[in-house]
């Protein structure tokens, strides 16, 4: 199905998933304005949110099924497999977040159904980012997502930590947006367009990139590096992840990061494939992010902070996929992001069960003896940890393996070696979690009596663990998906010759 963006109906059709979700967001907003007092209202809003996410997923699937594609080069939105897969990842992350939020919100007395509305707006922003074939659209999506997540980070407004997280995130996020916008401005100045496809054509035409273009590109990368929390632009991440309510942290560490990466990927591969300079920048970013993230995580005693730093380390692995570039890099990115989303959400879900009024204080050692008391919960967390470590049999390994193949086939053997060596370091902080749960005795009698997930949280964890093991042993479907998604985004230089 070819969609012509100059026809009104086709344009709307190409934005169908976003429109569906926008409609739902507005409806939900009306609903919570009307009912926002009781636990029951909160529950209903949660269910409606799940329904919203599901119907959006169906809309996405429908377009996917019909092989929707956008005609012409100058479209503002892309319609390719990459976008659909990315949308599904965001929707899945949001749905799992909703599932673990049910009991969390009630337990922490955060009885405000606006929480779910913000979650929907955040997801909408991510989808716009993944769809954007124009820097302005990407920026719009980024802001939509960011503003919603700023509020979510400070949602537990009675806790100083949460407020601090929101303020920090907002200030540094605004700063990052500034970088991004300035980069876009410079790129516009150099190429006369903000459309990624046209930029790609311009860059291919120019040959030697101008200084202004390079400066713009550098600022753009810095802006995205802030968003994905790559070292040295990561300093906000631990405090924000630590202070935000745990389900929000899970959402930030997975959805937000995936969205920023998806946009970065599209910009670099489709727009700047002709500029060699970014490879070096991203290479170094990847190296210091992997080394820094892993070493910092090693020093953490709090489980939540450890997971925060580990998410920085994983951003480093994803940057390796970016450096590898090409269709292989993109496919590796898709596989890794799916695995990472699952395992991270699983870990945060278990953490949210352990936490009581301020789960940022849960130390790794506080998990001691969990396996004896809550064997299935401990098993789930152990699988998540092994997957984060990249152990065979889990999806995390398949993702890492794919990144390694992409990197080595792009000639990045050194980067691959650094990746595995830093993975060894990561054993130093993932294993203590397993060690505490299985090999240390319960510190006091009945230390874990109140650790429990409600039915929906359990469903989320079961889904996560099943997904991790299934994709770890039988990743064939995942690969087909990732391959078609990865090949759907082509450097603009080739599209100009074939598409026009």
């Amino acid at each position: 199905m070819r969609l012509d963006p100059s026809i009104y109906g086709d344009l709307l059709l190409s934005l169908l998933p976003e429109l569906v979700l926008t409609g739902w967001a507005l409806a939900l907003l009306l609903f919570v304005a009307w009912r926002h007092q009781t636990v029951r209202d909160l529950r209903i809003t949660g269910w409606l949110t799940l329904l919203a996410l599901l119907s959006t997923a169906v809309a996405t699937w429908w377009l996917w099924w019909h092989h929707a594609g956008v005609q012409g080069l100058a479209a503002m939105v892309a319609a390719d497999d990459f976008r659909w897969v990315a949308d599904w990842i965001f929707l899945g992350a949001a749905a799992l977040t909703v599932l673990i939020s049910f009991s969390y919100l009630e337990r922490e007395q955060l009885l405000a159904p606006e929480y779910y509305v913000l979650l929907v707006f955040g997801t909408l922003g991510m989808m716009v980012m993944a769809a954007g074939a124009d820097l302005m659209v990407i920026f719009l999506g980024l802001e939509l997502m960011s503003v919603a997540v700023y509020v979510l980070a400070g949602f537990d407004r009675r806790r100083a930590r949460s407020a601090e997280a929101a303020l920090k995130y907002f200030l540094l996020g605004a700063f990052a947006s500034g970088f991004l916008l300035y980069g876009i401005a410079l790129i516009y100045g150099a190429t006369g367009t903000t459309n990624i496809g046209l930029i790609g054509a311009q860059v291919a035409f120019m040959g030697q990139p101008s200084v202004m273009l390079l400066a713009g590109l550098a600022l753009l990368i810095v802006g995205f590096a802030f968003k994905v929390a790559a070292v040295p632009f990561h300093t906000w991440a631990p405090d924000v992840y630590d202070g935000a309510p745990t389900p929000v942290t899970a959402f930030m560490a997975t959805g937000v990061k995936a969205a920023a990466f998806a946009a970065l990927f599209r910009v670099l591969i489709a727009g700047f494939a002709g500029v060699a300079a970014w490879h070096d920048i991203v290479w170094w970013l990847a190296v210091i992010t992997m080394i820094g993230g892993n070493l910092f995580a090693l020093a953490q005693r709090s489980l939540k902070r450890m997971l925060a730093y580990s998410s920085i380390a994983h951003a480093g692995y994803l940057l390796v996929a970016v450096t590898a570039g090409g269709a292989a890099g993109m496919s590796a990115f898709i596989v890794y992001v799916i695995a990472y989303t699952l395992m991270s959400l699983g870990a945060f879900a278990v953490l949210s069960a352990k936490g009581r009024a301020g789960e940022s204080d849960v130390l790794i050692d506080d998990l001691a003896g969990l396996a004896a008391r809550r064997p299935w919960l401990a098993f789930a967390l152990a699988i998540c940890m092994l997957s984060l470590l990249g152990f065979p049999g889990t999806a995390g390994f398949i993702g890492k393996w794919y990144i390694l193949i992409a990197a080595t086939s792009a000639g990045q053997n050194t980067l691959a070696a650094i990746l595995v060596l830093t993975s060894v370091v990561s054993a130093g902080y993932y294993l203590p979690v397993i060690m505490a749960m299985y090999m240390k005795p319960e510190p006091i009698e009945a230390a874990h009596v109140d650790v429990r997930l409600d039915r929906w949280g359990r469903a989320a964890v079961v889904a996560v663990v099943a997904g991790l093991l299934l994709f770890g042993v039988w990743p064939n479907r995942l690969f087909d998906l990732a391959r078609s998604a990865g090949e759907s985004v082509q450097p603009a230089a080739t599209t100009t010759t074939t598409g026009q």
Binding site: L404, T408, S409, N413, V420, A427, M435, M439, D480
Partner: protein, 506 residues
């Protein structure tokens, strides 16, 4: 018919049984686990007769697994891996029986892990697809990590994480090497496949990259063997692990390293492996292992640690035999791999049994117990003599063949290695004397009970093997010979005809 499903069954059966055992209550778990491991052994025994003593892989199974990358489920057995598979299935029921009263907490989990470990170990030995090999290589790490960490001694957490990180470090570099090899083969032939035969055919064209790749494989396998400077995880892991853990560690896990050299590092990179520098390094490290391992064993106050260091020495002989690359030395090395599994396994069982009674592993805690526990003393003596390599026991055949075969290639090194045999006699006989023969001074030892029928049931099969291999090793050697010969014929010319790659030496 049997040949078509047996290897798959050997991999799948323990997994199913493990899942069942995990869900059973503790009392029942060990019975089911024992039955499952006996079934596994029974499944594997016909391999012995149906195996045709000829070169090449047998009982092959080849199924597509992950089509996108050309990953197959390919397994097969040749004269090198046959005995390691049989050794694994043979030691598992004994390990379960040996843990009968030793493991008292969380029994279901323990026996389930042992069964999962069986799958991992057999998988390593029969995998003929490098992806599958890597997965199996890692899969066996987790059960062992838990076995040491949950059921181990006082210092178990340290030992467990040390074991894990050492192995993980080596294997991840090997992972990169496998990927580089795979992409290289794909670039040359256009076929994306992790198949062993495919990669083996393309490996000689690597040029100077081969040095790096050999280095990565070397590190992974040398940590596992363990070769001298990388051996420090071994005493910790051995001492802290519960009896079954030590037996399996020494009996099977260490052989994965030497097996890796035989199956991958040597045939893939013959030119590098047999270059002057690498030969010198490996022979020197093996020698250091033999002599240093023996000397350190001599001064250990802890019996379990003594056996652990004796493993370093024994595996040094294996490495020497492999690198000497004559028919006798390779067959000898293979035989030592089996013998070490039997003898050292038996030693660990014995130490575990006496520890259960006295709760001490220190040699000085005992003395003169031959009068109290004569049966125990007799078995310990026979097993120690086999570990020393007394003629008539299995140890002698293996070490003699290695020394005989290696002398042609490395005369000086072999002469030095011979002193290792003397050192072995020194430390084991001294320990033997101090434990069972000196005057009985400690009153705590007067009430020790002798071996129970269950314990005899564990030890007798091992004693039978000790004498069988010692007196009539021909059935073993006959089955090994074609594969060993094939390996040598493959590696030797590869080393001399291969391009001189010393220029790319890092």
């Amino acid at each position: 018919m049997y040949g078509r499903w047996v290897l798959t069954a050997l991999l799948v059966w323990p997994l199913i049984a493990g899942a069942v055992v995990l869900l059973l209550p503790g009392r029942l778990a060990k019975y089911v686990a024992l039955a499952a491991s006996l079934v596994e052994f029974a499944l594997s025994v016909p391999l012995w007769w149906t195996f045709v003593p000829a070169g090449g892989m047998q009982f092959m199974v080849d199924r597509t697994w992950i089509a996108a990358w050309g990953i197959h489920f390919t397994v097969g057995v040749d004269g090198i891996s046959l005995f390691l598979v049989l050794l694994t299935t043979f030691l598992m029921p004994l390990s379960i029986l040996g843990s009968w009263s030793y493991i008292t907490k969380r029994e279901g989990g323990f026996y389930a892990l042992l069964l999962v470990l069986t799958t991992g170990m057999i998988g390593v030995f029969i995998a003929l697809d490098l992806f599958l090999f890597y997965v199996m290589w890692e899969v066996m790490l987790i059960p062992m990590y838990f076995i040491i960490g949950v059921w181990g001694g006082d210092n178990r957490l340290y030992a467990a994480i040390k074991f894990f990180i050492y192995t993980f470090f080596g294997s991840l570099l090997m992972l990169v090497a496998i990927i580089v090899l795979y992409l290289h083969a794909a670039r040359v032939t256009g076929i994306y496949s992790f198949s062993y035969a495919h990669l083996l055919a393309q490996a000689p064209l690597l040029g100077s990259t081969a040095w790096w790749l050999f280095g990565a494989f070397f590190l992974a396998f040398a940590i596992k063997v363990p070769l001298f400077p990388l051996h420090t995880w071994l005493p910790d892991a051995h001492v802290e692990a519960p009896t079954a853990g030590s037996v399996i560690l020494a009996g099977i896990l260490l052989k994965m390293g030497t097996y890796g050299f035989l199956r991958f590092a040597l045939p893939f990179f013959p030119a590098v492996a047999l270059s002057q520098t690498v030969q010198l390094v490996i022979v020197a490290l093996s020698l250091i292992g033999i002599i240093y391992g023996g000397l350190v064993a001599m001064v250990q106050p802890d019996f379990k640690k003594l056996i652990a260091y004796s493993s370093v020495a024994h595996l040094g002989f294996v490495m020497l035999g492999i690198w000497a690359l004559t028919l006798q030395s390779v067959q000898g090395a293979l035989l030592i791999m089996i013998n070490h599994g039997i003898s050292t396994g038996a030693l660990f069982f014995l130490v575990g049994m006496i520890y259960e009674r006295r709760h001490s592993r220190l040699i000085e805690a005992y003395g003169g117990i031959a009068r109290v526990v004569p049966l125990f003393a007799a078995v310990l003596t026979i097993v120690s003599l086999s570990s020393i390599a007394l003629p008539g026991t299995n140890g002698f055949v293996g070490e003699f063949l290695v020394l005989l075969g290696s002398f042609r290639t490395y005369p000086i090194a072999t002469a030095l290695a011979t002193t290792g045999v003397i050192v072995a006699a020194a430390y084991l006989l001294t320990a033997l004397q101090r434990v069972i023969y000196n005057p009985l001074t400690d009153h705590a030892n007067e009430k020790l009970t002798d071996l129970t029928p269950r314990e005899l049931l564990v030890l007798v099969p091992l004693l039978v093997c000790i004498l069988w291999v010692g007196i009539y090793p021909k059935p073993f050697l006959r089955r090994m010979e074609p594969s060993a010969r094939q390996l040598i014929e493959q590696v030797r010319p590869g080393a001399t005809q291969g391009q001189p790659v010393a220029g790319g030496q890092p």
